[in-house]
Symmetry: C2
Subunit: 446 residues, 2 copies
């Protein structure tokens, strides 16, 4: 993309209304614009990041066996009355009357609707297990929306719903999602820790929130430092292997890790030696929850067992805050100059800076690099404006592209361009060919 | 995808509520499920087609220079009051009050919002031209939703908005979208004809609807047969070349082609010799519209000319009914047995039918083919159930995959599998390697 043809409205001043760094940087980098309180338009740069995160979430959900669907945003109130949640849900539910005066709502979540779909088509153990998910806009009418996309009213969420014949099989589905989440967050360049969550009326250990450690987090967190060092790395996961997935669950849930909702000070002290105790703040980016027959009973989603008995199906739900993740990644990865995108979600793989726009040799070298990078499958933001070098560098640093290629007349005389790393600040001079090859290698593994 | 792990709830009976063939087939093929009147959930097969159409629309919009953004579904009423449309828009607008009793609405379109965004960041001729688009869910509270996704209430639309300094430049933007639409519909396997539309208060020739000819269309159409034979084919288009785009506009708009909204019987007879006159029905799938300063004046979106004068920006809007296209393609491409997907939007490239599930040799051959097809980048729906052959064939025909590979013990003895074409019904016996190569070649150009 050539910057002269793009729409990248970066701001020089820091917007006064933004209280946290991710909100400030998203506004300054021209990623979002507020449409109304807690409701945002995604400008081109923000939209690109959102789509990249979405794509990684899709890939890891499907790798774990979940099947994509898409449910609508507007729901009828009927099913919610059946589950008992229409009245239980407070003023955060956006309630709507259509032209025929029917009660509708903008879905804050989809347990009822997916259970109705399941029930319509599946009635036997032979149809199980199933895990259906979608990535769709939700609405929660927060009384005081704040922190930009971190606590907005209209937000993009991935929500998956598993259906199993019995408790043991449901736990396997739960463990599949646990492993999928660990891998998803690792690919996003995040250190997200599963923490014991309130398990609701059915009790049990199968409710976890995934939190990223960040000073601006809304939750207090208490954890054993060892859990932060765990990593799936390149581990091969067979999502049908119950023992392997149970071992992953065990590894990640053995160390103490809780939010202030579930924290138990005495247990913390007894389980974790003082030098490993961490008290910090965290941002919730995911939530997995086994709820048993909570929805299948009132909505009568029954399946026949091999013995012919009809039993309510066992369910779980699994959320990831896709739009919130854009902010969360920035909270976890920025410096004084701006955002620092992990390669996996960067809006462009590389920024190309022409130091002397209008100079025939420099223009030609830039055009050549631009074409070669794009041909190598690398997305490029080419700053072909006639701004001065300092302004070009400041914009590239603000918007946080992981790599910057700088082309100027002096370097070209020696046959080199400069490749700079946003995260470390390190730079090196390379021939254009070597720079393309190096960038290709960096992005090859993603 | 293995069918035993998928969620493909095909129906044997024809649903009584569906009046038109696309609605019937989408329900029978397990593509959608009605959530409430005019509101649908997209089941896995339908979701795959929707995403493929969306991707083609994205590619062609971006090729023409339009830049993707994403605006929210819920809008404040304020901007609509400023443009005068809040009151003018009838009961089809879904009006909402939030918890603070503020007037909101579910966007039926985005002229106001995109103009506000443009105005916030662009104030000079140097910022022009711009064309920003998004693909987002819209809501129109139809009094009598019908025909499945063809006239639903919640629907997915691509809407682009161009901003130009003057009329001549705006017409070039219009012509860019005209060419992009022609290519988009051709890639979707559709013959869509641009027809003169009502141009609104500003008059002029720059308002066209794109219609597909289909018996179930809601509009009557009158056209010169020659327009149906026009095709871009593999033509290279330089979207900066004003003359080339004007020539495309001229070629496609010279022959008479109008809907009953704009039809002029006398003109039809004078322009078109009797043997070339076609009177038929059509489905609207796109709409392009140059509206000048209709929104920039009330919303005060002004830009400075090179001479320093402030003038309202010239705008156009360009819609494609993305979810409606799923139905429209089926209306245009089906037979008694079911859907016939064009390769470009097929939910899977090929269906793989195992004629004797449980037979070690047949199972092994199928697994091998499955792996090789997926490795070649071809998506496969592998029917690994133990249904009988007739049922497997009927399902594949109903869901309309363009190609079917059949593997059975008899063929394997001679070292061959059967490759069948859904559209022609023709089939041939090939070695598995030749079948993979042939399918690879068929899909290589898409």
């Amino acid at each position: 993309m050539r910057l002269t043809r793009y729409f990248l409205p970066v701001l020089k001043e820091t917007p006064a209304e933004a209280q946290i760094v991710s909100h400030r940087l998203m506004l300054r980098a021209g990623m979002i614009r507020q449409a109304s309180a807690g409701i945002y338009s995604w400008l081109p740069l923000g939209y690109r990041v959102l789509r990249r995160i979405e794509e990684i979430v899709h890939q890891e959900q499907q790798r774990a066996g979940a099947i994509p669907v898409l449910m609508p945003t507007i729901q009828s109130a009927d099913l919610w009355r059946q589950s008992g949640r229409y009245d239980a849900y407070g003023p955060e539910m956006l309630r709507i009357k259509d032209r025929h005066d029917r009660d509708m709502l903008y879905g804050p979540t989809n347990e009822e609707m997916i259970t109705e779909i399941f029930k319509a088509y599946c009635g036997s153990y032979r149809d199980l297990p199933k895990n259906l998910y979608h990535i769709q806009w939700k609405f929660r009418d927060e009384v005081r929306p704040r922190f930009g996309v971190m606590r907005g009213r209209e937000f993009l969420m991935k929500d998956a719903y598993s259906f199993d014949l019995d408790h043991a099989s449901a736990i396997h589905s739960y463990n599949q999602m646990m492993a999928a989440y660990l891998r998803t967050f690792e690919r996003l360049g995040l250190k997200a820790v599963p923490m014991k969550a309130e398990s609701g009326p059915i009790g049990g250990d199968h409710a976890h929130e995934f939190l990223i450690l960040a000073e601006t987090g809304e939750s207090g967190v208490f954890l054993d430092r060892t859990v932060v060092d765990l990593s799936l790395g390149g581990r091969e996961i067979d999502f049908d292997d119950r023992a392997q997935l149970q071992a992953i669950f065990d590894d990640w849930t053995a160390p103490y890790a809780r939010t202030d909702d579930t924290h138990d000070e005495a247990l913390f002290h007894s389980m974790v030696p003082e030098e490993r105790r961490v008290e910090a703040r965290g941002i919730e980016v995911g939530h997995i929850f086994y709820f048993g027959t909570k929805y299948s009973e009132p909505l009568e989603a029954l399946v026949a067992t091999p013995e012919g008995e009809k039993v309510p199906v066992h369910g779980g739900s699994y959320g990831i805050g896709v739009s919130r993740l854009v902010g969360a990644i920035i909270e976890a990865s920025h410096d004084d100059k701006g955002i620092i995108w992990p390669e996996s979600v960067a809006p462009f793989a590389v920024g190309l800076v022409n130091l002397k726009q209008g100079d025939a040799a420099v223009d030609a070298a830039c055009e050549d690099l631009y074409a070669k990078l794009e041909a190598a499958g690398l997305s490029v933001l080419y700053d072909d404006t006639d701004d001065r070098a300092g302004a070009k560098f400041a914009t590239m640093e603000l918007i946080g592209l992981p790599w910057r290629l700088t082309v100027g007349p002096r370097g070209l005389k020696s046959g080199v361009v400069e490749l700079a790393c946003r995260r470390t600040g390190a730079s090196e001079e390379l021939t254009p060919e070597a720079a393309v090859a190096k960038l290709g290698a960096i992005y090859a593994g993603l």
